[in-house]
Each structure stands twice: as structure tokens, then as C-alpha cells.
Symmetry: C2
Amino acid sequence: MTVSEVRYGTGREALIRAVVDVVAEEGLDGLSYRKVAQRAHVNNTLISHHFGSKEAMLEAATVWAVQRTQQRADLTLASAIDRDFAETLTRIVGEEPNLQVFQYSMILASRRSPELRRIAGNLYESYISMVQDVLVRYGYEPERAAARAVFAALDGLVLQQVTVAEREEIVAAITRLGSLIERK
Amino acid sequence: MTVSEVRYGTGREALIRAVVDVVAEEGLDGLSYRKVAQRAHVNNTLISHHFGSKEAMLEAATVWAVQRTQQRADLTLASAIDRDFAETLTRIVGEEPNLQVFQYSMILASRRSPELRRIAGNLYESYISMVQDVLVRYGYEPERAAARAVFAALDGLVLQQVTVAEREEIVAAITRLGSLIERK
DNA sequence: TGTCAAGCTCTGCATCTGCAGAGTTTTTGC
DNA sequence: GCAAAAACTCTGCAGATGCAGAGCTTGACA
């Protein structure tokens, strides 16, 4: 029996990380047991062992990605949407773009999966709450619509960053967003 | 030979429409020649005949979707980001959600395809220009950063509409966005 | 040290996939 | 009306896929 390249007992997490990378780089259409396993340096049937099905594997990877993103969001926590914040957010996104791309893929996939929809809905609500806190510091009443709109702007700009735009363009847009919402 | 259910000569467009629907409903991972052909009511090998490959079929569908979206965007053209605009935009999105979902899928896929990246980049730039025109009417200088940010907010809100949020929430957020950017 | 459960690999298979090549049908243009 | 091109269908196939079932390895615990 071939000895696995990962430490015994760490295969599950290696698979999850591999899922995120493969999906981000090759899309959900490029995802297969063999590709994930190769990336994780384990045997592909370990996927069935740990997750049972492809769908369950994706759900587990989504939960992992969400947790990881929220840890990193805590590092980004802002009291203002200014240039510092823009530089920090785009730097963090740029360090691990696959994490974001994977999540956008799963957001879209949530249309076909009640469980993913629940996870995605909760994730977005938590982000909207964080933005709402920031808006309160800007002097706004705590209201959902404004927070949702501002969060959507950040979400949309991150989507542009990982797809068609340059980081500097996103830094400028986020900074400008901050000045747009300043109470005058 | 089985008689096709679509009028002779219209198979190509039927396939393209079917691609958009299948991708939106089942993801790129759920896309196959047989599924698309079944949806289009033609024989699956007509795909090879018209497009040559799966990738080329997706590019053709993207071009079609972009053109169709831009026609519909012209119907949405706003002089203001207000409640009327919000109702119209969300209504149009709600009438044909698959078109939007397909495009988000292809935006993500553009990371892996120079041609898709070019198409997506152009599409986004044209939208940002439209938003810039609106901002000029609001009394803003013609500058890219603000337009990009406001377009991103609309893009992010449409993404939420087709995934995790209710239409009324999006209407409220777009309306609120309008008031946030009003010069005071 | 031995046992058992969890982690892991190997073998195998039914089904699906993209698409090649040949043949049929419809349209176009002279 | 006929020939050629475009549109379309049928048959077939090599390769890929998810995952079942059996067996091997490692770690935990008594």
C-alpha cells in the first residue's frame, strides 16, 4: 500500500483545502475525486470514506471556507471604509483569492441546495451586520437596507478584484465608496 | 431519422438558450451535450456541428447572453437610482433570473479563459460607464472609482436577489443606495 | 501487548461524457 | 430541376467519473 504524503489523520483537511483550490482554479465542472485527491496527495476514495458523496464534500468545504473567511474578516474589521481598509481588504483577498472564488461558486450553487443556501444566507447576514455596525459609527441609524447596499458594493468589488479588475482600481473604488457614505 | 421539434435552421439558437438555462439551473458541472440538447429538443451532436467544442459553445452562449442583457439594460436605463429604478431592475431580473445566474457563472469562469475575460471585462466597463452617466446627472464629476463602486453595489445586490435574498429587500437596498449617493 | 476503531489504499464497475465519422434532410442558388 | 452547402440525426467509442467493497495501516486505550 502506497504511503500517503500527508501525515496520518490529516487527510480530511487536506482534501477540503484541495477542493477549494480545484474549484477556484478549474470551476465546479473541473472538480473530480481524482483531481482533488491528487492535489491533496491522498487516494481518491478517501473522499467517499470521509464525506460519502461529492455533494457532502462540497458542503464540508463550504463550512470550512466560511469559517476561515470569518476569521480573516475579523482581521479586516474596520471602523471606517477608508484607504487603510481598502488596502487591507484587497491585500487579504489577493493573498488567498481561491477562497473568495470558491465562495462565489458556492453562492451560485446555493440555488440548487437548501443546505448551501442556509449557509450562504447566514454568511451574508453576518457581513451585513458588520457593515451595519460601521454605518452606525458613521452616524446612521441601524437599518438593514443601507448596510445591505454597502455590503453588496464591497462584495461586488471583491468579485471584480478576483475576476476582471486590478487591485488598484478596487482600492480606489472602496476608498471612494467610503467618502460617498460619509454624512455631510 | 427523427424529426426535430424545432424549426429547421433554428437549432443553433435553441441550443444557446438551452445552455443558459442548464448552467443557471444545474451549474457548469451539470452541463453536458445531452442535457443541453434535450432541453433544446435537438440531437446532442448538433453541438459539435455548430460549435465544435463545449468551450466554444459556452463562449457563444456568453456573447448571446451579454447582448441580450444589454438590450434589457437599455430598458432599465435610469436617470436616477430611485424606487422606480429599483422596482424595474428587480422586476426585469426576476423575469429572467437564469440570464443573470449564467452570467455570474461565466464571470467566475473568466478566470480560466482569456476570451471570456475579455468579454466580461468589456461588459463590466460598459455598465460602469452607464452608472457614471447617472452619477454625472447627480452632480458628480465623471470619475471611474465612484461609478465602479456604485455599479458594484448594484451587481452585488442582483447577485443577492438571484441567490439568498428576497426581492423586496433588494428594492429597499437599491432605493437606499440612491439616497446615500445623493449630493447633500 | 493486544484489540478495535478510524484513517487510508487498492480494485473494480456501471454509467456518463465529449465528440468523430457517416448518413439523412432541408435550404439555397443557378 | 439539380447540385452543393448547411442543418441535422444516428452510431459508436475511448476515456473519465463517482463511489462500492475489500483489505491494509495507524493511533488510542485497556
